[in-house]
């Protein structure tokens, strides 16, 4: 236990002078090398490359042992906290190495056996899962949402490890993310689960992510829904009993489960619905006592959620549509990907927003394209993350239709696609 607490402390950002740098080592799926051996080699690698600027990923190594056993070594999440990216001297930092294997089995389903039918009530992933690899990095937010969430859960786990009396200091592990659709709430939950699993691998052997299908908990039989909820949570309880596992319970669109009580009072909702709300609330109270469980919930319409539930959530984080700066980052990652796949050819270097700032947004040969992109980003403000990630595809489909395109041509198409999005939106709203 003491050692586990030590590990946690290491994982927490400490206020001391030596900052902790997290290094994630993705071990090849066929590799059987011992963790200690890999750690040794990675430390050697990091010693050779002492100074890094922000996040960095190695995928090619001089060391044949690393080439054989390791997919990538990444310095991660240094940019979440430090806004002005200074060079980081690894020799003075605490380095936390996280070595992980991705689990390639897809999701499995948790079934609830009723007498006559089999209801699939939840999807179940073993983390870290290959499906969610890279998801964390693809989510771009302005404020430090990601690091807040990470720190918050770390603190909660530390508190439970230290056995802080929960009657004196109340905390639980319920997170509620809310905001307009398409802003990446569900993705963020999954990515957070993946991230935490990797960070805490030294303490828990693996993570489990259970995604509850809220609609399937409503039974067709009157008065049975509450029982279904109880059955579902019974299954989760079984998973929690395994102290080696860090269990994440994700309830998407939580309002569908908990919106009902007010409506019930108004007489528009059958009384069965109120039982579901009550069952969910009591069950959440039941499982949140365990130290190895984190409950993640998302909602589009916060006003409709039961107050009793909102109260229970410790962290209520609003996730809004991305700002121009975030949009720029999203576009940049999209363009990088298209250049990697050689759909945009020839390859051209684009500047990041920070680099643009440093040269004071002066237009020259180097910055011309990036300035155009930042122009498009400003224009796209108000679009959701989901649409933004779709736009490069739409731009290609609508305005290019060629196997390769120059970056100038692509940016033009992208700009047209953005205009079209706004036009369509206007039409939609005028219809309504």
């Amino acid at each position: 236990m003491d050692q586990a607490v030590g590990d946690l402390k290491q994982a927490l950002p400490c206020m001391a002078e030596t900052p902790t740098v997290h290094v994630e080592v993705h071990q090849r799926s066929g590799s059987t090398a011992k963790k200690e051996d890999i750690k040794l080699s990675v430390r050697k690698l990091l010693n050779r490359h002492n100074i890094v600027f922000g996040d960095y990923t190695w995928t090619e190594f001089d060391d044949p042992f690393l080439t054989r056993n390791v997919q990538s070594v990444s310095i991660v999440d240094t940019e979440l906290k430090i806004k002005d990216s200074q060079p980081i001297d690894l020799s003075v930092c605490d380095i936390a190495l996280h070595i992980f294997h991705l689990s390639e089995d897809g999701p499995t389903s948790e079934n609830l056996e009723e007498e006559t039918e089999n209801i699939i009530a939840a999807n179940h992933w073993v983390l870290p899962a290959a499906e969610f690899h890279g998801l964390w990095d693809s989510l771009v937010y302005d404020v430090e949402i990601k690091s807040h969430l990470l720190d918050y859960v770390m603190t909660a786990l530390l508190f439970s490890d230290k056995n802080v009396d929960s009657n004196l200091i109340t905390w639980n592990r319920v997170v509620l993310l809310h905001g307009p659709p398409g802003t990446g709430k569900t993705s963020l939950c999954r990515a957070l689960a993946q991230k935490l699993t990797i960070r805490l691998l030294s303490r828990y052997r693996y993570g489990q992510l259970i995604e509850i299908n809220s609609h399937s908990l409503f039974s067709k039989w009157f008065s049975e829904s509450g029982k279904l909820v109880t059955k579902m949570f019974q299954k989760i309880q079984d998973l929690i009993d395994d102290k080696d596992a860090l269990v994440f319970v994700l309830i998407d669109e939580v309002e569908s489960l908990t919106a009902a009580r007010n409506a019930c009072r108004a007489g528009t909702e059958p009384s069965d619905a109120i039982r579901v709300v009550n069952a969910v609330l009591t069950q959440i109270d039941q499982i949140k006592r365990h130290s190895n469980v984190v409950i993640l919930t998302t909602s589009n319409i916060t006003e409709r959620i039961d107050v009793a539930f909102v109260d229970r959530a410790d962290i209520r984080q609003y996730i809004g549509p991305p700002s121009a700066a975030a949009i720029f980052k999203i576009y940049l990652s999209c363009l990088e990907e298209l250049m990697k796949c050689q759909i945009i050819y020839p390859r051209q270097q684009l500047l990041t927003l920070r680099e643009l700032e440093m040269i004071g947004f002066i237009e020259n040969n180097v910055s011309k394209l990036s300035l155009l992109l930042s122009e498009i980003s400003r224009k796209s403000e108000g679009l959701s993350g989901r649409i933004l990630r779709k736009l490069p595809f739409l731009a290609h489909a609508l305005y290019i239709q060629a196997p390769t395109v120059t970056i100038e041509g692509f940016l033009q198409a992208l700009s047209l696609a953005v205009d079209k999005q706004f036009e369509e939106r206007k039409k939609l709203s005028s219809c309504v």
């Binding site: 071990q27 059987t32 090398a33 693996y206 079984d238 395994d242």
Partner: protein, 274 residues
């Protein structure tokens, strides 16, 4: 299901016969086990039986070869899949029925939409192909490394299976130079013990589930079909049946197994119903 040819008569326990037949052709140095040796019989199996966790100890009067261990694993896998209704017939029978010349099947497919019999036959062929590939790769694994433990996981996920079946081979002495027992005789002994323990009769009929095979092997055995699962730990919940084999000789000390890690077959065997 395809109509069985009338001239083929299937005895109830066809796989039993298989073992007898094959016993003659297996390895040259053999000590035929006398069926009457009751000295090494498991100490009253009915006592060690409990409904959820079932332990079946089997003691052999001599060493067993690696090939023998592989056979035990394969036969247990076939047996579990049939007993737990993932296969409608025992493996050998299915193979007999459905291994038709492929051209015949293809012609039918082209001419008219699939009848249920044809879809069944396709499903069955796929299941058989998957099972065969696992069986053949198991042989490869056993040839590469000592395998102290094998798990057959049914339903759920690798970490939380609904049922799991464990074959503990770690207490068998390593394959020494001296003669090993006849594989067929050992198989008979194992399955008699399993039948005596009555492990399958009181389970309720399961739905179709995925079957995953896991085996422990040496870290450096160079296996490339099975995927290593370094973090894996044997699950604690789910219905469990453990078959432990031992041979009355000092076994390999536990510390020697430290470098043995879990490997998972990369395919999930999907059963089928008719």
């Amino acid at each position: 299901m395809a109509a069985p040819e009338p001239e083929v008569v299937f005895p109830a326990a066809v796989s039993d016969l298989e073992w007898y037949e094959e016993s003659e052709e297996t390895h040259a140095p053999q000590i035929e086990l006398l069926e009457t040796t009751s000295a090494q019989e498991p100490p009253n199996p009915s006592e060690s039986f409990c409904p959820r966790d079932c332990l079946v100890p089997v003691v052999f009067p001599g060493p067993v070869s690696q090939e023998g261990c592989c056979r035990f694993t394969c036969e247990l896998l076939k047996h579990v899949m049939y007993q737990r209704q993932q296969l409608p017939l025992p493996y050998e029978q299915l193979k007999h029925f459905y291994c038709k010349p492929p051209s015949q099947v293809e012609d039918l497919v082209k001419k008219k939409p699939w009848t249920t019999a044809e879809t069944n036959s396709r499903k069955c062929q796929q299941t058989l192909a998957e099972l065969e590939s696992v069986l053949s790769h198991l042989e490869g694994l056993f040839a590469r490394t000592l395998v102290p433990r094998v798990l057959i996981l049914l339903g759920g996920s690798v970490l939380n299976p609904k049922e799991f079946y464990e074959l503990d081979l770690s207490r068998l002495a390593p394959n020494s130079m001296d003669q090993s027992l006849s594989t067929a005789a050992c198989l008979r002994r194992i399955f008699r013990a399993i039948f005596m323990a009555d492990a399958f009769s009181e389970l309720q009929a399961p739905p179709l589930m995925g079957t995953i095979v896991m085996a422990q092997g040496h870290r450096d055995c160079g296996e490339d079909w099975f995927r290593p699962r370094l973090n894996y730990r044997v699950p604690i919940r789910g219905h469990k049946l453990t078959v432990t084999l031992s041979c009355g000789r000092p076994s390999i000390p536990v510390t020697a197994w430290e470098d043995y890690v879990w490997f998972q077959a990369p395919v999930t065997l999907k059963g089928f119903h008719e």
